[in-house]
C-alpha cells in the first residue's frame, strides 16, 4: 500500500476497507454474499481488485465470486452515479404506466436503464418491485420515494436534483 497520500492515484482502490470487512466475516459459514454486500456498501460497487482479494482470503476461485456477482441483480461491477434513479417496474407500476415513465426518464437524462450519465451524477435503473404498489407508479431516488408519478413529473424530479448540484 502506498504510504504517501500525495502520490496515491485518485482512482486507486483502498483495499484496506475490504480487509476490515473480511476480518469480521471471513470465518462465518456461507458469508460470501454478505461480504460482497458490505464491500458494495463501502465502495458503491464491487471493484474487481476487491473481488480478487475476497477470493484469495476465502480460498475460492475468482470465477465463483464473479459467478455470484453477475447472478444477483443487486451487485454492480462499475461505479454508479450520485443519484440512483430506480424506476419500479412491478406489475402494479407497469399497468399504471411505468414504461412511459422509464422512457421519459431515459430520454431526459439521455441514458438507458443500467447506465450512468457521463458526469457520474445519475444512474437509471429498473427495479422489479419495491412493494409500495398502492402508490404506483413509483420512482425511488436513493432512499426518497416519489409516489404516483405521472410522466410530466419526471423533468421536475431531475431538475430539482440538477439544481442541487449546480
Amino acid at each position: 500500500m502506498c504510504a504517501n497520500k500525495a502520490t496515491t492515484l485518485e482512482n486507486e482502490i483502498d483495499l484496506g476497507k475490504t480487509e476490515k470487512i473480511l476480518e469480521k466475516y471471513q470465518t462465518i459459514k456461507g458469508a460470501l454474499i454478505p461480504i460482497l454486500q458490505k464491500v458494495q456498501d463501502e465502495y458503491g460497487y464491487v471493484p474487481e481488485e476487491a473481488a480478487y482479494l475476497v477470493a484469495d482470503r476465502l480460498g475460492i476461485y475468482p470465477s465463483q465470486i464473479f459467478g455470484v456477482l453477475t447472478f444477483y441483480t443487486q451487485f454492480h461491477l462499475k461505479p454508479r452515479g450520485k443519484y440512483i434513479m430506480k424506476v419500479c417496474c412491478g406489475t402494479a407500476c407497469h399497468v399504471k404506466g411505468a414504461p412511459g415513465i422509464l422512457d421519459r426518464l431515459q430520454a431526459t437524462l439521455n441514458v438507458q436503464a443500467g447506465e450512468t450519465t457521463a458526469d457520474n451524477i445519475f444512474t437509471v435503473e429498473r427495479v422489479n418491485c419495491i412493494g409500495a404498489c398502492s402508490l404506483a407508479p413509483i420512482i425511488v431516488v436513493n432512499k426518497d420515494a416519489h409516489a404516483k408519478v405521472v410522466s410530466d413529473d419526471v423533468a421536475n424530479i431531475v431538475n430539482d436534483l440538477k439544481a442541487r448540484e449546480a
Partner: protein, 606 residues
C-alpha cells in the same frame, strides 16, 4: 406518575407505503407541533393498517377515548388536527377516517365518526395475521406483549410436546401461504421425523412477485409474530437455528427484524434454554441480493450457503437434505405469522374459518386500477367480486371498466371480471385458470392490453430464469420473442398455437416452479382474451391503446370533448389544442410517448 393509559398517544403510519406517501415529512412535523403546542404525548411510528392509498395516516388516542385515525395527512394539516383534537376535543371531519376501541368497549367514542368496521374497506375483512399491523409500534416489545405477544411460545414450551404442536397445526388445516398451498403440519412432521442432531428452520421472506407486498407489511408492522412462528416451528421440528431470508429491496423490514430479534434475545425468548425449557434457538437474518428464483426453496438454500441461487432437482427434499446438507423446513412469512394465533385459539377453532379445503384467512395486496388499493385479509372462500367491489371500491376511473384481475404474479393467471363470482380458495382459483399465489392481486381495466401484460410477465421470467435448465432458459425467451413480435404488429396467426404448445412444453419439462409456472400468464390470457391476440395479429389493432407500434396517434373527432387535458402532458408540444377546438397531433414532433392517451379521460386518442 401517569401510566401509559393516561397519556396522550400520537401514532404515524411509517411502513414503506406510509413513508413513500409522505410519512417521512409528517412524523417530524408532528414532533415539532407537539412541542410548539406544549402537548406532552407519546409519539410512535406504526406499520400499515392496509388502506395504503389513504396514507399518510395519523392516529390520536386521548385517555379514556377511542383511537381516531386521520387520513392523507400532510405537514400542513398536522398542526390543525392536533390543535383541534387534543386541545379542543374536536374532530377534523374532513380528514378523519374512522375510530376504534383499543381497550375493550368502555372508551368514550366521538360522535359522527364511523367505527372501522362500519367502513366498507374494513367491514368484510377478518384480521388474524394483520391483527396487530398498524396498531402496535413494531419496535416496541411491550406493545407486542400487550396484544398477546409470546403467549403462544410460552404455552408451547411450558405445556406442549413437539408432536402436540405439530398435531395442533395439522388440525388447523393451515396450508403454505407462499403459493403452493402445501399443508404446513405435514411439512413439519416430515422435518421432525427426519433424523439428525442438526436441523434448520427457514423463513422465506424473499417476496419476489412484482405487485405483492403482504410479507413486507407483516415484517414491517408485526415482526415479532414471524419470530414467534419460527420459534414454535423450530421447537416442533427440533431445530436450533433459524434463518430469515429477506429480500434486499425491503430495508425497513430488515431493520424491524433486527430490532425484534435483539429484543427477543434480551427478554429470553431466543437464545439458550428459552423459558427454562432446555430449548436453545438462535435466529439469523440473511439478506437476499436480488434474484426472483431465490423464492424457490432449493435456490434459496443455495443462496444462503453463498452460491448462485440455482434450484436443484428434488428429491432429496429439504426435509431430508436441505441447508448445508441438513434436514430443513421452509415456510413463508404469512404462514408463520398464523402459527401463534393457531396455538392460542386452537387448531379446531381456526379450521372453522374458511372453506372445506382452504382454512383460515388469506392476505391479499390489491393494486392496479382500483379505487382503494391496499392490503386486506379475508376469510378463504370469499368471492373475488366482494374483494374488488365491496372492499376495494371498484374501478379507479369513472368511464373505464375493470377488465380482469391477475392473481399470483408471474406464476399466476388472470380472471376476467365476468368470472368475478369465483371463490377465493386454492382449488376454485386453479379451476378458473389462476392460482392463489402469494397474494398479489393486480386489477386491470379496459386500458390494459392483455397481450402486453403477458409480454410483461414473460419478460420478467425470461430475465429471472437462472439458466440451469433449457426449457425455461430458452423456452421463455422464445415465447417472449413471439409476444414482442405480436405487440409490434408483426405476429402471424400460427403464433398463438406456437405459444400454447411451447407453454405446455415448458410447464412439463422445467426443473423448478419458476419455469413450470412461467407460461401461465400467457396461457390464461390466450384462454380468455384470444380475440385480443387475434386483433393484434390480423387487424394490427390494440383496443387498449397500449402497444405503441399499433397506435395511429390520431384524435377521434367524434369522441373529443375539446377539453384540452391532453395538451399539458405533451413533452414536445406536438399536441395542438385551442379553446373550443378539437385537439390535433403534429406527427412531425410527436414522440409517441402516450402521455396524451393517459391524460384523456374520454379515450379519444387512438
Amino acid at each position: 406518575m401517569a401510566t401509559a393509559k393516561d397519556r396522550i398517544k400520537v401514532l404515524v403510519g411509517m411502513a414503506t407505503c406510509g413513508q413513500a406517501a409522505g410519512g417521512v415529512k409528517v412524523y417530524p412535523e408532528v414532533e415539532r407541533q407537539l412541542k410548539e403546542l406544549g402537548i406532552e404525548a407519546d409519539l410512535n411510528a406504526v406499520g400499515c393498517i392496509g388502506c395504503c392509498s389513504l396514507e399518510p395516516l395519523m392516529d390520536i388516542v386521548m385517555p379514556g377515548r377511542t383511537r381516531v385515525t386521520y387520513k392523507q395527512v400532510d405537514a400542513e394539516k398536522v398542526g390543525k388536527i392536533l390543535q383541534k383534537h387534543i386541545k379542543e376535543g374536536e374532530i377534523d371531519k374532513k380528514s378523519v377516517l374512522a375510530q376504534m376501541h383499543t381497550n375493550g368497549k368502555d372508551e368514550n367514542p366521538y360522535e359522527g365518526v364511523p367505527f372501522f368496521d362500519e367502513i366498507p374497506f374494513f367491514a368484510k375483512q377478518r384480521k388474524i395475521v394483520l391483527k396487530r399491523c398498524g396498531y402496535i409500534d413494531p419496535k416496541s416489545f411491550d406493545d407486542y406483549i400487550a396484544m398477546d405477544g409470546y403467549k403462544a411460545v410460552t404455552k408451547v414450551l411450558k405445556e406442549m410436546t413437539q408432536q402436540q404442536v405439530i398435531d395442533e397445526v395439522t388440525k388447523s388445516g393451515l396450508r403454505g401461504r407462499g403459493g403452493a398451498g402445501f399443508p404446513t403440519g405435514m411439512k413439519w412432521s416430515f422435518a421432525s421425523k427426519s433424523p439428525g442432531p442438526q436441523k434448520y428452520f427457514i423463513c422465506n421472506a424473499d417476496e419476489g412477485d412484482p405487485g405483492a407486498f403482504m410479507d413486507r407489511s407483516v415484517l414491517e408492522g408485526d415482526p415479532h409474530a414471524v419470530l414467534e412462528g419460527m420459534i414454535i416451528g423450530g421447537y416442533a421440528i427440533g431445530a436450533n437455528t433459524g434463518y430469515i431470508y429477506c429480500r434486499a429491496e425491503y430495508p425497513l423490514a430488515i431493520e424491524q427484524l433486527l430490532v425484534a430479534i435483539d429484543d427477543a434475545n434480551k427478554h429470553g425468548y431466543l437464545g439458550k434454554n428459552i423459558l427454562g425449557s432446555g430449548f436453545d434457538y438462535q435466529l439469523i437474518i440473511k439478506e437476499g441480493a436480488g434474484a426472483f428464483v431465490c423464492g424457490e426453496e432449493t435456490a434459496l438454500m443455495a443462496s444462503i450457503e453463498g452460491f448462485r441461487g440455482m434450484p436443484r432437482s428434488r428429491p432429496p427434499f429439504p426435509a431430508i437434505k436441505g441447508l448445508f446438507g441438513k434436514p430443513t423446513n421452509i415456510n413463508n412469512v404469512e404462514t408463520l405469522a398464523n402459527i401463534g394465533h393457531i396455538i392460542l385459539m386452537g387448531g379446531a377453532k381456526y379450521a372453522e374459518i374458511g372453506t372445506e379445503k382452504t382454512k383460515g384467512t388469506k392476505v391479499f395486496a390489491v393494486t392496479g386500477k382500483i379505487k382503494n388499493p391496499g392490503l386486506i385479509e379475508v376469510p378463504a372462500g370469499i368471492q373475488l367480486r366482494e374483494v374488488l367491489i365491496d372492499i376495494c371500491g371498484g374501478s379507479d376511473r369513472k368511464n373505464v371498466q375493470i377488465k380482469a384481475t391477475q392473481l399470483g404474479g408471474p406464476s399466476g393467471g388472470c380472471i376476467p371480471f365476468e368470472h368475478a363470482e369465483t371463490a377465493i380458495d386454492y382449488e376454485s382459483l386453479i379451476q378458473a385458470g389462476a392460482i392463489m399465489g402469494s397474494g398479489g392481486v393486480v386489477v386491470m381495466d379496459e386500458m390494459n392490453c392483455m397481450v402486453d401484460v403477458a409480454r410483461y410477465f414473460l419478460n420478467f421470467t425470461a430475465e429471472e430464469s437462472c439458466g440451469k435448465c433449457t426449457p425455461c432458459r430458452v423456452g421463455t425467451k422464445v415465447m417472449l420473442d413471439i409476444l414482442e413480435r405480436i405487440c409490434r404488429g408483426e405476429g402471424e396467426m400460427e403464433d398463438i398455437q406456437k405459444l400454447e404448445d411451447l407453454g405446455n412444453d415448458i410447464k412439463a419439462a422445467s426443473l423448478c416452479a419458476l419455469g413450470q409456472t412461467a407460461p401461465n400468464p400467457v396461457l390464461s390470457t390466450i384462454r380468455y382474451y384470444r380475440h385480443e391476440y387475434e386483433q393484434h395479429i390480423k387487424d394490427k389493432f390494440c383496443a387498449a391503446t397500449v402497444c405503441v407500434p399499433l397506435l395511429k396517434f390520431e384524435v377521434r373527432e367524434d369522441v373529443c370533448t375539446k377539453c384540452g387535458l391532453c395538451k399539458k402532458p405533451c413533452p414536445t408540444d406536438a399536441l395542438v389544442w385551442e379553446k373550443k377546438q378539437t385537439a390535433r397531433i403534429n406527427h412531425a414532433t410527436c414522440t409517441k410517448c402516450r402521455a396524451c392517451i393517459e391524460a384523456c379521460p374520454f379515450r379519444a386518442i387512438k
